[in-house]
């Protein structure tokens, strides 16, 4: 088992640039400069982005108070806040309505509140507001405070999408083509983004009230695609959506909401959904589809997660000891699942194989408890709960985003990178810490899906910057390299060798 104690000490003074010769090099080293890649690394600051300061319904308080008729007010309350609002309105205007109505609505309201508080005591996350819930279950660390809300690489091209604080999405490409900005009326509090695999244009966006599928024509030069390019998918009771996952073949999209006990399997083109309901857990917070498409992890807000197999859509329950599952990632061949739990400072591994019929218990593969490194300007403490996990597509590097302690000034959030080895036994080896510029903490990270020379980690920083950290290495042997997917990947990255056909002169 690997622990943070065996890691090389982090270099606090400068930004980590890349890995070469098994060593993470930072900007301190002379002669090394960012030779990495021509990928865009934009920066967004909170000042330039104006978020929505207050929700729409509370804007009423700005205007002068005007007495509408009871009917108008009731209708407005019904529209704004549903049954609760209606009952509240009737109870509050007791002098205008018959007495029995006011008393009756007060009783019903009390009964409803009691029932919902009982429900909330079973599932505490239900008492959160919608924004708090998104912040709680987002993979972005400190979501509500960050200028960047979400980030997603396109699975096949050098193109990524960034969701920003002002609820817009920008799409960057490697060449200097225009960067489209996507805005939509329904696009609020974006929690997750994912590009559709095997497609050039479709981007799924998990919003507060619905699911948006943008079709951004890659050949178009327009910088503001109209909202007609977006499909709106919604289902009553299925919001806010905190996680989405495309199947690796791009045919299905699964969405999850912490308040809905069923997750939706969407046929996006037909705009139809099949709900898959399991009551235990009280909702679904995080979804992750294995790269080979055979399994799907669904985490719940309670101490329970499920692994669905995607042929007949049955699931196995995995109760956890302590907290809920916070983040997870699959190995490239889909045989191994790494998980992190809330409140625990370890990484668990589950190994699936078709022969044995699935694992019986999870094993601890890494210990991430706090470790203190002495430095030139004071000690630096590293370690804590895991916010998100990311495994590079070749299965050689594992990045772990560790939450810091915001009260202590020498305990920042950091990204720890492990090397992974699958044979003879699955093992994590220390690689190093990825540090940002002074004062910047990592918020989110994702590996580039098809980097040629190793792995490329893209990190979103707390100062609104997006940077890319390449890891140069030669593949030592792929994790589960006998799978056809892997053979394919190695074939396509290396077109000069292994031609299937003889060249034909046409």
């Amino acid at each position: 088992m690997c622990s943070l104690g065996v890691f090389p000490a982090p270099v606090t003074a400068a930004q980590t640039l890349f890995e070469r010769n098994n060593e993470l090099l930072s900007a301190l080293h002379p002669g090394e400069h960012s030779q990495a890649c021509d990928l865009p690394s934009p920066q967004f600051t909170r000042d330039t982005l104006k978020g929505h300061s207050r929700p729409e319904s509370s804007s009423r308080s700005v205007f002068l108070d005007q007495r509408d008729t009871l009917w108008m007010r009731s209708a407005g309350a019904w529209r704004d806040a549903g049954l609760y609002g209606l009952l509240d309105e009737i109870t509050n205007s007791a002098e205008e309505v018959p007495r029995f109505l006011a008393v009756g609505s007060a009783c019903v309201l009390a009964l409803l509140r009691w029932a919902s508080s009982f429900h909330g005591s079973l599932f505490p996350h239900l008492t959160l507001s919608s924004d708090e819930m998104v912040a709680e279950f987002s993979q972005m660390l400190d979501w509500s405070d960050s200028a960047l809300r979400s980030f997603a690489w396109h699975p096949h091209t050098d193109k990524f999408a960034v969701a920003l604080l002002d609820d817009s999405i920008k799409i960057y490409k490697s060449n200097s083509s225009p960067t489209p900005t996507l805005k939509h009326r329904c696009q609020r509090s974006v929690c997750a983004l994912q590009w559709k695999p095997l497609c050039g244009s479709a981007l799924a966006v998990a919003c507060q009230s619905c699911l948006l599928i943008w079709h951004v024509d890659p050949a178009s030069l327009s910088t503001r695609p109209s909202s007609g390019c977006a499909q709106v998918l919604s289902h009553p009771g299925h919001s806010p959506i905190t996680s989405i996952a495309w199947s690796p073949t791009g045919s299905l999209l699964v969405s999850a909401s912490p308040v809905d006990t069923s997750m939706m399997v969407w046929d996006v083109a037909a705009e139809s959904a099949v709900p898959l309901q399991r009551v235990g857990g009280g909702g679904v917070t995080y979804l992750s589809w294995s790269p080979d498409g055979s399994r799907l992890l669904a985490a719940t807000p309670s101490a329970l997660f499920r692994v669905w197999e995607t042929r007949m859509w049955t699931c196995e329950r995995w109760p956890c000891l302590k907290g809920s599952c916070q983040s997870a990632c699959w190995s490239p061949d889909g045989g191994c699942l790494l998980l992190s739990m809330q409140g625990e400072r370890v990484i668990y591994a589950l190994t699936f194989s078709d022969l044995t019929g699935g694992p019986k218990a999870a094993s601890v593969v890494a210990d991430l408890s706090e470790t203190t490194f002495p430095g030139p300007d004071g000690d630096l403490t590293v370690g804590g709960e895991v916010c998100s996990l990311s495994w590079d597509p070749r299965g050689e590097r594992l990045a772990v985003l560790l939450k810091g302690d915001s009260q202590a000034d020498n305990h920042p959030s950091v990204i720890a990178v492990f090397k992974t080895r699958s044979s003879p036994v699955f093992e994590l080896l220390p690689c190093g810490f990825v540090m940002g510029e002074a004062g910047a903490e990592p918020r989110f990270m994702q590996f580039h899906p098809h980097f040629q020379h190793g792995a490329l980690l893209t990190v979103c920083w707390s100062d609104g910057r997006i940077s890319h950290v390449p890891f140069y290495f030669s593949s030592a042997g792929l994790l589960g390299g006998d799978s056809p997917q892997q053979a394919l990947a190695s074939n396509t990255t290396n077109p000069s060798s292994n031609k299937l056909y003889t060249e034909q002169i046409s």
């Binding site: 497609c199 050949a219 996006v268 299937l500 060249e503």
Partner: protein, 640 residues
Amino acid sequence: MFSLKQNSWFIRKVVIWRAVASIAWSVLLLPVTTAVFVLLSRFSLFHPIQWISDCTSLLTASSTIFSLVVLCGVVLITGFFNLEFYTLVPSIPCSRMALLGTVLHPRQCVHSLVYCTMGMLVMWCASVTIGGRYSTLGTPCRQSESGEVVTCLNEYHLFLLLAGAFMGYSHSFLGVVQNMYYVSFQPIQQYKYPRFKGCLPMVVKCSVIQALYSARNFAALYFFFGYVPKTWISSTLNLQIDSSLQPLDSLTGLLDFSLLYHLSISGAFLYLTWYLTVLLFRIYVTEFLALQDLALLSQHSLSRRLEVFNLSQPGGHPHNWNAISGECLCLLSELTQRLVAHQDAVASNGRVKSQSASSDTRSASSSSSVVSGTEDIAETPRLSVPLRTPGSVFKSSVGGANRVLTAPFTPDVDSPFSSPAIRRLVGQQDPHSPWSGTVQSPHIMRRGPKLWSASTESQSNGSPPGSPATVPSPPAASQKPSFLAQWLQNRREQVKSFLAKRVLIMYLFNKLPEASSQALFADSQAHIWALQGLSHLVAASFSEDQFGVVQTTLPNILSCLVVLLEAVDRHFKLPHASSKPVRTLCSMGDSTYKTLRFALRAALKTAIYKITTTFGEHLNAVNISTEHRKRLQQFLEFKE
């Protein structure tokens, strides 16, 4: 015909047994729903103990057992109708006239009649179960002036019975309008029990909502016309009308909370019985079919794929692969031809070209198909295409009748006046008219034995050559033109302009927007599966195909896909083709067919991407034409 035998084999051996199983489960569920209904109907808030004891004694009473037997009969008949009417290719009426024709078709009339009767039966059971004032049709009452006891009409009982008939008819009517018998496939596969459990809340919700709507409509109807059946029944059965009671066809009589409550829950019970039968039938009948199996197993099962890529011994021919790819390509190129024919028929401004032009198109398309050498195509693609939809992996042959009915209003016949029925009535004998196509249809039906997807030649078979005669002439509107035709035989243009000015005629015959697009892609579920299966197999062949059997057909497959993509792209440029249908909330009718064209386009692009990303640069070595290569290059660069 071989394929016909095969098709009926599939229905006889598989579908029937699945239907029987679904009916058996519906019957087994009946006691449960009846118990819930009894509990709800006798509900009293203030006497819970009496309520429970009443219900338990009622559930074991002989009247309830008899009601259950009657309900079993109803479920059996419903199941029989499900089996008889279900279809995989929905009939999409392209004009209001066609819809009217469907509703007034004799078959549909029989259906409505049977459902009315079943509704009355269920409502009779319900009223007996509820008991009290609803239980019998006749009640003893005291004549007001003489004071003697006579039998009076119990209007509450009559009200419920008529409500049952009304709900039966509206169920049958909505079944046509919403394509209730269209069976669609879920995007994911599930076991039957979880699927049933997942669908159950939706079905209960639907039946309650539908019952509330029906109760409202029926109350309104009874308010206005209730006296007609009341006086008729009372005079026929010689029952007095009790004048001391409030008549129900008045405002005060209808505003009876208990009556409306009982009406609603009985209606919900009625709809639930039917919907559950439909749901179970759908669940049973849509599991594990050949093409779907191909699409799924090509993705999941390595051993099955290896079998496909293997060579047969002796001889070393890749028969498996040839059969599979040939079948899939055949399906896809048939769709391409259908699209091309439609595009040629519809000029860019949405009008139909002149007859000569379209006959030119015919010859052109037939010659092009000879070049592509796919298979013998119909001489008249316009009509024969909707008739020979191989999409239905299984298809009850009776479904063909519906099609023939809507055939005069096929999407391709665009203007109201080119509709062959009308043309026939006007007296123009058009040698190229689609009817001759129907007569020639036996030419179309030649095809080799199928690996799977029992073809639907049986449909065109099922509509015998004499089928034009069976088409009912649309009653109200068509009588007028036939009269005019005799009178104005040589002045066709005048007839046209005359008819065009009639608002009602235009209203009835104008094409519904989108309908032609929906009808073109009505059977596209099969194409989607073919695309998925084919692309998964081709992609897997990159690493698993030891003998290179896929290489030989790769150019064919790629060009077929690209040609189809071009046709689909052009189709989506037509007016109304890319407009999204309004989503219906909560109805038992499945509206999946309305979005099948979008699903097909997405599946097609995904299939091409699947192949191009797998093969990558190697595609440059495949022998395809330059335009197709350009298009594929777009896919390689992810610019589609």
